[in-house]
Symmetry: D3
Subunit: 128 residues, 6 copies
């Protein structure tokens, strides 16, 4: 497959998951300087890995939330909180992941994850 | 609930997931010195968090594998590879998680995860 | 021991260490959604581990500050800075821990730890 | 060499790299409490390691930027972004390092690095 | 560009850097199960990022060594030690990177990096 | 103070803590190539930070063990297990630190710490 096609496929997946406006805003924030990274994200991350058939998107989202909480990447955690909700994860399922974070990456990581999750619920008007 | 009951419930979950022999071996390796940690693992990790109803065990396993790969804990990753397989995860689903590790925690983490996964498949006689 | 008793014992320890108001505020911030995590923190972290007799609280605080600085958890570091001061640690002892952070986790970690420690001293009106 | 001489040599290197005002500001922010850490930074980090002849400063800066992006130290990353530019690194070379961060430490680390790099370019009026 | 062409280009770069035998061995070790990861490594890591013109390979190697030391990935560190030497880095330049690791990621990371570097020098018969 | 004097003072502290044979062996393992790192360790880590009066060595050891467990540095953890025992820490005190590791850095980190601690006890013939 041509990498431009991979890019377009990935960009479409990304917009399904996060909404076109959010993706445009994120891509715009990095501008021309960030174009090579956006290519990696669109073509390789979403056009390839996220487009693979072997695991449903909802489960991928839960795994990705858990990993980002564990490795302390707050901005990416919030992005994928939104993706998880759009992919059909419930706040309760997300909470179970955040409790697993406490076990495997420690309570400070779980505290941060809970706080960030609640920020996203509030931004989206979700009552938990 | 009494903490001893929590402990028994968790130990039962743990033996379902990893097999009684593997759990006995792991608990024995830490001995009397490790008894307080084993109490935390049995009562709090498995008796509480893993016993919660809100997310099926198979998905929990995939999240936990992803987190342990991301935070570089090889021994725990291998333990939960076995748990994942016993909980019904397929090698293909596990591979999808390991590819997500490449995106979110980097290629070195994904290389280590693949290598360890293949070790577990080999130990269990699983042909991939 | 019943887990509710463990919870009450832990909550009492926590309030001794951080003050009732600070604990109420932190528990309130996570709300109902965070209740399972608060249960883990109160019952397991403070009711069990922090209530164990084998090491005085002041030393526990210094260890916990060092760990949180090393693993880059700023919010938890500040919480335990307050706990450390309430447990009798002096600013000078805390500084020694922050200098050990430079050796074992690197200068960026030590810089962040110093900056956060100074924020807490300022919030509490401690002149250093 | 006397450690005070090492300190003076390092402080001079540091001021060459970051500008005297920026160094004064950073040292002042940590005050008397941070004097032992500043001694380590000036004498040992800049007076010794950064003063060694075996690798040009520009390359050191690129390595240090990559490491700080990988280990998630935003404040230090921004400090060394300024050092890198003063040491002669171009925005394009810095971008190549940030793309390597994506491969080896994951896309969230690369996203954070790009965002912080763009902040520094903007603060310095560099058009990219 | 077609992704298969990207793959071939990356595989050629990789073989230049590590030798055809070493690459064949590494790819063989992960087998069919690891083919999607190898695709990511060959096409995206080496065919895209490492093939970009903006920074010479030798400097890329030093950055990658520093990052892998900092994030504690021993196997990848050794792979890229070999790549660094093949890309023209000298043992002395590599040592300067390992000393920067001490400053930014701590002495334990630098100790591990030195030990692994010496293992590679010994494997290759390099006298340091 | 002259850095050579700092070096000698630190080397003496280090030999008190780990034994002259262990230090000679560790320094010999890194050889001439590792001499600059050994200088940093002897002069700056032990001659400066560890020689400061503000915190007793035994407490420093417990902090350092906790940090190394949290940041996943097994070799350094074992070195400082020996230092801790020589500095007067008891196996029970060390266990309390390892249980705090479970809370703040997660159960996988605590499992690794317990396993490594038991290895050191066995190597030294300490019955726990």
């Amino acid at each position: 497959m041509d990498t431009q096609e991979l890019y377009r496929r990935g960009l479409a997946v990304r917009k399904q998951m996060f909404g076109a406006d959010a993706v445009d805003k994120r891509m715009g924030a990095l501008g021309e300087y960030g174009a090579p990274l956006q290519h990696m994200i669109n073509a390789y991350a979403y056009g390839d890995v996220w487009s693979r058939p072997g695991l449903e998107r909802k489960i991928r989202s839960l795994v990705v939330i858990g990993m980002n909480a564990a490795i302390n990447r707050a901005a990416e955690f919030k992005v994928h909180m939104n993706g998880a909700l759009n992919n059909g994860c419930t706040p309760d399922e997300i909470r179970e992941v955040c409790l697993l974070v406490a076990l495997y990456a420690g309570i400070p990581a779980a505290n941060d994850a809970h706080r960030l999750a609640l920020e996203v619920f509030k931004e989206r008007g979700i009552d938990v």
